[in-house]
């Protein structure tokens, strides 16, 4: 079932939680709402579910206006951040709840309910826990039961609020894969909320990046990472190295550091050059188009590549620079804490004061 949001506004007292939200979610998509806390992503999810009402705007399910429809009649599946399992009911009773409260005419027979609960338990691979109480389950098990309970009503829309937020890293990764395959198999439309960029990028067909009550950008994970529309999206998705200085002609300078652009940027004035860690190389001597002196501050050997934290020498930057080098490079160079080196950019994203969109520049 497709979901359409038109001009959704929501305030809590003087606080504007959402402003003019426009979003189209096609049938069968798995979409992630990503943003820092307070960006309005959970509020938006609750408005789609009907747990919260929008101050203005419209919500359409499959082209049909459901704005005024009660939660009870929207028939969505909702998975809560802290699972919200009914603590006095067994796992089986939890899953059966939605079927048990149906009006007598629509309610399946007791045997049929038992059968459906059995199937759902098999699907989440927890059949052996049917008679346990929620307090006797681990976090990951609770989450899977919560999912089975939501799916018992065979909803066409599944909404998940920080579904893996409270789980440890390993379980989270497992459940993520499992949710993805479940989504592909059962083919409902899913919307999930997260503040974890890795989770959003890995799991979603498209990601909605939100900040301060509005949508910054909606795009596929690849496009979002390769071409962020704004500084906010840039900052929020992964680490970024920044050179802030004044732009004159095709040269951006700050203290001892400067960069020469291959073409003259469209504007001039105060500007910031954003460089992703993989868009920068390290060398022991400067090159013709860039002079960015750095000093090794910390070395992290864990992972597929060696991550270096670097402190600017003779120029200013709010945060340390981060650059990854291969283990082979590490062994031939053997950098130590305090060693000097120079950063060489291959690709850069230039933000000039007064412009929200960046200009992407390529060297050589």
């Amino acid at each position: 079932m497709s979901i359409t949001l038109e001009q959704i506004d929501k305030s809590f007292g003087a606080f504007k939680a959402l402003q003019g939200i426009e979003l189209d979610i096609p049938d069968g998509e798995l979409i992630g709402l990503l943003g820092p806390s307070g960006s309005g992503k959970t509020t938006l999810l609750r408005i789609i579910a009907g747990l919260e009402s929008a101050d203005s705007g419209r919500i359409l399910f499959h082209g049909e206006d459901v704005t005024r429809r009660h939660v009870r009649e929207r028939r969505v599946g909702f998975v809560f951040q802290h699972y919200a399992l009914f603590r006095h009911m067994t796992v089986a009773q939890n899953i059966a709840f939605g079927l048990d409260v149906l009006p007598r005419k629509q309610r399946p027979s007791a045997a049929e309910i038992r059968q459906r609960v059995g199937n759902l338990l098999e699907m989440v691979q927890l059949s052996h826990l049917a008679d346990r109480f929620p307090a006797q389950l681990s976090g990951g098990q609770k989450q899977r039961i919560a999912l089975a309970r939501a799916l018992a009503m065979q909803p066409q829309v599944l909404l998940l609020d920080e579904p893996f937020g409270a789980l440890d890293a390993r379980v989270r990764k497992d459940l993520r894969r499992w949710l993805r395959s479940l989504h592909d198999e059962l083919n409902f439309t899913s919307v999930f909320v997260t503040h974890d960029q890795e989770e959003a990028l890995e799991l979603s067909d498209r990601v909605v990046v939100m900040s301060a009550g509005h949508i910054e950008q909606v795009d596929t994970p690849e496009a979002l990472y390769a071409k962020p529309d704004s500084r906010f999206v840039f900052d929020f998705l992964g680490h970024v190295n920044v050179l802030q200085g004044s732009l004159a002609g095709n040269r951006l300078a700050s203290g001892d550091a400067w960069v020469q652009f291959p073409e003259e940027p469209a504007a001039a004035g105060e500007a910031q050059l954003y460089l992703r860690p993989h868009e920068v190389r390290l060398q022991l001597s400067p090159v013709g188009h860039a002079h960015l002196p750095l000093q090794v501050e910390a070395i992290n050997l864990i992972g597929a590549e060696v991550r270096l934290e670097l402190r600017p020498c003779g120029w200013q930057c709010d945060t340390l620079w981060e650059v990854g080098i291969t283990h082979a490079e590490y062994h031939s160079w053997q950098p130590r804490r305090g060693d000097r080196c120079f950063a060489v950019p291959d690709v850069g994203h230039l933000f000039v004061a007064g412009h929200t969109q960046p200009q992407t520049l390529y060297w050589g």
């Binding site: 747990l51 919200a84 709840f97 899977r144």
Partner: protein, 288 residues
Amino acid sequence: MKSQGRLRAGDQPWIKWSLIGFALLLVVLLLVVPLVMIFSQAFSAGAATFWDNLTDEYTLHAIGLTLFVAALTVPINLVFGTFLAWLVTRFEFPGRKALITLIDIPFAVSPVVAGLLYLLLYGSNGWLGGWLMDRDVQLMFSWPGIVMVTVFVTCPFVARELIPLMQQQGREEEEAGVVLGASGWQLFRKITLPNIQWALLYGVVLTNARAVGEFGAVSVVSGNIRGQTNTLPLHVELLYQDYNAVGAFASASLLAGIALLTLLIKSAVEWRQARQMRPVSTQSDRTT
């Protein structure tokens, strides 16, 4: 818990033992001795006299009236307290905080003052009382007045028990229920009520204990008419003033008995609650 005898470094054993001794002394002097005295006085003239005193016509009436008042008060406050707790923990509205504070007024106001307020309001010379008098409705100096002040004095117990629990449990389970299609009544019966049942029972036990034992407010509005508006606590005082100490203590022993029973039920409920809350060790946590 195996913490007996455990000392922190530097603590002297004699400090611990003198504190325990002092606490024990206070408990014996202030709580145990008076309680024992009630029963020993009640039986001081023998079991037969004790029995005669209890089966005295006026005493029986006082017992009946007390039970009658409690039987009306408890359900009223059960419904009212549950409703109030649900209101302030499940909805946001202006004045919510003020309402939570207002619930405590009966605790803050002396019962005698509460009784006087009701007398001023509903008595024959009161604002509402005069109007009611003209229509032949008498509330003060009859059982409805006693019920009214008892309801007032005991109304915070149930709400006070429920509010912290319901705040702590949050509304997520109810939201999960409504998303799954449950109606308001189904939500209450299948989710809210099972989650609060022990706190509710605890609140009822406390309400009942207070309703049975209330003296101050009731004494102002009842008029102490023997055989008509005399509750058990008032009856104790009347008997004592009649120099019938044995009779007074016999009635008092009934009240003390109810109090002990209340404590017993309270402990049982608390034990039950603690057992229910105890989490069982969790299982391994991996999808296969």
